[in-house]
Every structure is written in structure tokens, then in C-alpha cells.
């Protein structure tokens, strides 16, 4: 049984059809990266997976439970699906430590003291133990994003969805976030990442999905898809992002 199964998902906002029949699967430990021009439904697709948006048609299963079934209690499944936002969305009134521990207390019913010990471990994992007492406004974008990854990790998720995790960051801060993500990938975490960081793709991705105009046009291992794409559209898009993001950051 696949950890994630997406079957023929459609989503429209008013007259605008954003997703036009997307299907794919992920097994435990898979690292997949979704690339594609802006406005092609990458974020919408991710948001459908944890129920922040409901698809109009199609079904989604996480570890055998159908997310899209109205009878499913989505609050019970969401801790299993980590979500990392482009704009971090750390809880602004809480310290880094409380940001990571609050889910354990409120959602998992853990004791505050136990939750804090666990949260501290997760902060250690993203290299930010010393920022435990800092508020989001006191941290850099890169640090905030690492705390938000720790917040997702604390819930012990089966997979983590990353929605353009480095797009809102200054260039010099991207590396520290990618490093955390690469460590996670190497540690066996199942990850679905919307990103145009070619370096990340090359380093850890098992498969790249090219999403264009609401459909997965092409998919393949980075070594094939990045060097020898089958479709002209994929080729043009890759040229654009390589020009924009550069190959050099690969080594980051």
C-alpha cells in the first residue's frame, strides 16, 4: 500500500480550472519534487493533500485513509502530514520552543514538560537549540523556516509537504534550510517538495514531477529529466529556472 495516493484530482477556483486530473503515488521514504511555472496549481495540489483545500473531484489517500472522504476526521490525519509554508507561518506570539511544542500539548495531549523536552530535541535537529527562547520576530527567515520544519517534525509525521520552502528567503539564507531538508531526506523521511532548487533535486530527489497547466506533463529521475527532458515545454521551463537559479547552488 502506498503512503500517498492521489487519484485524478481536479480543483477550480470559480471559473479558473487549476488542477485538471492529477494522479501520482508515493512510497515510504520517497523524495519527490514538483516543479512547474507559477499558477499551475503546485500549491493548490499540496493544500489538497492535507485538506487545507478540498478538491472538486478525485480522491486522495494517506496511508490507506481517504483524506477526501467527508466522513474522515481531518484533524486526526493532519498531524501525520507535516506542512511547511512558504512564509513559515510560525505562531507569532510564541517562542521557538513553544511553536514546536504547542501541537504536542494541544493536539496530542502531551504534558507541557514532556512536550518541551521533545520540542528541544527537534530544535536540536534543525540546529536551533540556542534560539529556543526567541520569538519569530527575533529570528531570520532561514531560522524561522527551520523552526517551522521542527514544528512539523515534532508531530512525528509520516510525510512532510514543503510548499516552496525557500522562495521567501534571501539568497544567503537558502542554504541552511536546504541543508536541513537534505539531512531529513537522508534520514529516510518521506518528502513532497514544491521547489525550483535544482541542487536539492540532484542531491536527494527520487523523482521530479513537472506540473504545467494543472497536469503532470512529465516525470522522471533528476538525472534523466534535468538533462534529457522528453517534452519541449519541460525543456523550456528548465532552461528558464537554470538561468534564474543557476546550477552553481547545487553544491550548497
Amino acid at each position: 500500500m502506498s503512503l500517498l495516493k492521489v487519484d485524478d484530482v481536479y480543483k477550480a477556483y470559480g471559473d479558473l480550472l487549476v488542477l485538471k486530473g492529477v494522479s501520482f503515488q508515493m512510497e515510504k521514504g520517497d523524495i519527490k519534487v514538483i516543479i512547474g511555472p507559477s499558477g499551475t496549481g503546485k500549491s493548490t495540489l499540496l493544500r489538497c493533500l492535507n485538506g487545507l483545500t478540498s478538491p472538486d473531484k478525485g480522491k486522495i489517500w494517506i496511508d490507506g485513509i481517504e483524506v477526501t472522504d467527508p466522513k474522515t476526521n481531518i484533524n486526526k490525519i493532519r498531524p501525520d502530514i507535516g506542512f511547511v509554508f512558504q512564509n513559515f507561518n510560525l505562531f507569532a506570539h510564541l517562542t521557538a520552543l513553544d511553536n514546536v511544542s504547542i501541537g504536542l500539548v494541544k493536539v496530542k495531549g502531551m504534558k507541557k514538560s514532556e512536550a518541551r523536552v521533545l520540542a528541544m530535541e527537534e530544535l536540536h535537529r534543525v540546529g536551533l537549540e540556542e534560539k529556543a527562547g526567541s520569538y519569530p520576530a527575533e529570528m531570520s527567515g532561514g531560522q524561522q523556516q527551520r523552526v517551522s520544519i521542527a514544528r512539523a517534525l515534532a508531530m512525528n509525521p509520516k510525510l512532510i509537504l514543503f510548499d516552496e520552502p525557500t522562495s521567501a528567503l534571501d539568497p544567503e539564507l537558502i542554504g541552511e534550510v536546504l541543508k536541513v531538508m537534505i539531512d531529513l531526506a537522508k534520514g529516510g523521511m518521506t518528502m513532497l517538495v514544491v521547489s525550483h532548487e535544482i541542487g536539492f533535486c540532484r542531491a536527494v530527489a527520487d523523482e521530479i514531477l513537472f506540473l504545467d497547466e494543472g497536469k503532470i506533463i512529465e516525470k522522471g529521475h533528476p538525472s534523466e529529466l534535468l538533462t534529457n527532458p522528453s517534452y519541449q515545454r519541460t525543456k523550456e521551463f528548465l532552461n528558464k529556472i537554470i538561468k534564474l537559479y543557476g546550477e552553481e547552488r547545487d553544491k550548497a
Partner: protein, 224 residues
Amino acid sequence: MIYQTLLKEFPYLLKGVLVALELLAAFMSLGFVIGILLSVMEVYGNRWTSMVAVMIERFFRGVPAVVLLFLFYYGLSDIYNISAFTAATLALGLRTAAYQSQIFKGAIQTVGSGQMEAARAIGMSKVQAIWSIIFPQALRFGIGPWSNEFASELKDTSLAYTIGVVELLRRAKYIVSYTYGNALIVYGLCAIIYLILVRSGNTILYRIESKLQMPGFETRRERG
């Protein structure tokens, strides 16, 4: 002569202050609870709950306070034996609820939808997210405007005079009546007492606001 009377009647006036403060506490608490309810209905409710909230809010903001007082006192007296104090609590409480709902609504919207999404994404229910994530932040954004509402309602306790609540202003009026004049001095003292009350109230709220300051929530006003 009048000064001696005032000195003698000062405790009588102070009792009026107490009545005014009791009234204020009663209707501000009512307004706080209902105001939060209305704002949550408006921001997070469905079409119907939000429409109901908007209608309630428009009504109580659109009708003059004295008319509300008459409605709740003389109007309700026809069907139910209501005390002037209770009528004033209801009338002014629902009116401030309407104003407070606007303050809370603005504060909630300032918090931003990303906070709600992040809370839901780790598995919190909507109610949990509102309670543990949205409210603590909205409170910090809202306390400045709320202080203004507090000051204006403190002054408006004097409107309860019109339906016979024996608060500060009515007591002053009694003194004016039985000393045959001295309106300027007696009402002047009354004005000074209101002024002191408003300033002390604002100072306390300003202190609370300062205590709630934290990085990312620098909402502090220039003066309290």
C-alpha cells in the same frame, strides 16, 4: 456654604461613582463576551451566522444610546418588571458589544490567515486554533482600540441618568436641586471626577498593554 455641603455630601457622590463603576463592569463584561462572539461569528461563521452578527451589530451601532435605554427600560417594563440598573446593563452592554465586535474583528483580521492555516495544519480544530493561536494575538492588537472604547463607555455610564439609575450624575443633580443652584460648582466637580476616572482607567490599561508587549507586537501608542 456650598463647599461645606459638597464636603458633607462627598461620600454620597462617591457612592454614585461606585454605582457607575458597577454598571460599567456589568455592561462591559457583557459587551466583551457578546462582542467576541459576534466577531467570531462574523469572521469565521458561515453566511447565515455572519449575517445575523452583522445585523445585530448594525442595529446597536445605529440607534442612539438614550433610545436604547428607553427601549430596554420603559419598553420592557410593559411586559417584565425590569430594574433601571438591569435595563441600563442590557442596553449599554449590547451597544458596546456591537462596537467591541468591530474592534475584535479588526484585530482578528490583523492576525492573518496564515496563522489559522498553520494551526489547522498541525491538527488543531478550528476552535482550538481560535482559542490558542488567534485570540492571544488579536488581544494584543485589540487592546489599544479597546482602551478608547472603555473610556467612552465609562463616560456614557452617565446616560443611565435618563432612566433613573442613581449614579454619579444623578446624585450631583440631587445636590443641585436641594441647594437651589450652584450648578456650575457641583457639575464641575462631577466633571473632574469623571476625568480622574477616565485617566486612571487609561493608565491601568496602558500598563496592561505594556505588559503584553513582545517582539513582533509593538503596538504601543504614543500616550496612554
